[in-house]
């Protein structure tokens, strides 16, 4: 595993070097996978996550969420450094040191009370910072939405996550299961909007891509993420320049 993952990362980086934000060229493959994921989610993951949220004592839920959050923080340190964000790197390092020791392996988020604020950084954002486009949107079985660029994060977790220190296989399975349930429980509030969507696949995709675009630009994107047919914007003052002359004329005539 330790050998394969860096290799995969390199291949991935090479693949990402081709620029551009291809807007869901893999939809024909992604959609069936999404249907499969959704079925698994409805039958298994969502009920378990709902049970976790409703019946697990809140201190345990917080502890588990903090534990995995601490691992996120650990990976955020190099991700900040790669973007030259030294303040963020320092804050993140302080957080991990404090929470791993005094916070007992990350179960308690003491650093937030100092306060050393959580740094929302990851390798996908670092690549985006250096101009790497998101690449095609992917829907992974049993996992969910991702882009080619942002797959560096789950891959780096596989390569360098604490999993190697967990010896028995049962422990590893437990680690991933609890992590998954914790993550799913955190996403439960989004279910209402997703269930209401006329096309849940497109709703999730467009939400995910916008969210990543927002994060890559640290909350201040230069412009909204272009998605789909630019003319679908259909708004005279906003889409000016993006429209072809014909539709521009049509806009002028009706507004």
């Amino acid at each position: 595993m330790r050998l394969i993952a860096p290799l995969l990362l390199t291949t991935l980086l090479a693949a990402c070097a081709s620029p551009g934000n291809n807007y869901d060229p893999l939809e024909p493959v992604n959609r069936p996978i999404y249907g499969f994921n959704r079925a698994v989610d409805k039958a298994l993951l969502r009920p378990v996550a709902t049970g976790w949220r409703d019946y697990m004592p809140p201190p345990i839920q917080t502890g588990v969420s903090n534990f995995f959050g601490n691992i996120d923080d650990l990976f955020a340190i190099p991700a900040s450094a790669l973007q030259g964000k030294w303040q963020s790197t320092a804050t993140g390092t302080g957080r991990v040191l404090m929470n791993t020791t005094f916070g007992i392996a990350g179960l308690f988020d003491i650093a937030s009370r100092v306060p050393l604020a959580k740094q929302d950084e990851d390798f996908g954002q670092a690549l985006g910072y250096w101009g790497v486009g998101s690449g095609p949107y992917l829907m992974l079985p049993f996992y969910g939405p991702l882009t080619l660029r942002d797959s560096v994060d789950p891959l780096s977790r596989l390569a360098w996550g604490p999993i190697d220190y967990i010896e028995p296989l049962a422990g590893q399975i437990g680690y991933y299961s609890v992590g998954l349930v914790n993550l799913r429980a955190e996403l439960l509030p989004l279910d209402a909007a997703l269930d209401e969507a006329l096309d849940p696949y497109a709703f999730m995709r467009d939400g995910y891509l916008q969210r990543r675009w927002f994060k890559v630009h640290d909350g201040n994107p230069p412009h909204p993420l272009p998605m789909g047919d630019p003319d679908d914007d259909g708004d005279a003052d906003k889409a000016a320049g993006a429209n072809d002359p014909a539709s521009g004329a049509a806009t002028g005539a009706t507004q």
Partner: protein, 200 residues
Amino acid sequence: MRKFFGMLAILTACTFTGTSLAAAETPEQLVRQSSRDVLEIIRKNEKDPVKVRELVDARVAPLADYTRMTQLAAGRHWRSATPEQQQALTREFRTMLVRTYLSALTIYKNAQVEVKSVRAGNSPSEQDVRTEVTLPGEKPITLDFSFEKNGQDWKVYDISVGGVSFINNHRNTFASVIRNDGIDGLIKQLASRNASTGNK
């Protein structure tokens, strides 16, 4: 006669102060006031999501430009819709937004809303107000309100949650439904969902 002019002067003065007061309400002030009111509604009715939804809807309705919101979500297809279709689509889209998002507000009873910044939009008649919503022990969520000046008043035409815009998230779906089933198809689909789960 003098009395009449006096009255007229007072009336005019009142009218002018009235309008200038209304016009003086900047997007930032609108966000501050309405978020305070909305949080109060949630706190007072935390056991009753339906009541929260109704009261919040009534509170924010004068601030929201649902027609503009729907127009942007429908994209270029808006132009080919008849005024009746535009009205029906706006009505159903609004019902859906209110039903989906305002019913979920009760989890925000302990939330704090802080205005972070106000930015000029693409034109002088546009402004974006950025807020952060914080729940105890959780990461803050950015909530952006996009305002457009509509005559005297500033109205919200889009809301972004953590960078995800309502309009953009519905545009592609709307476009594909319209391509397959036409505007009436979209209106019908929204209406049937609104009707089937409307009483939840």
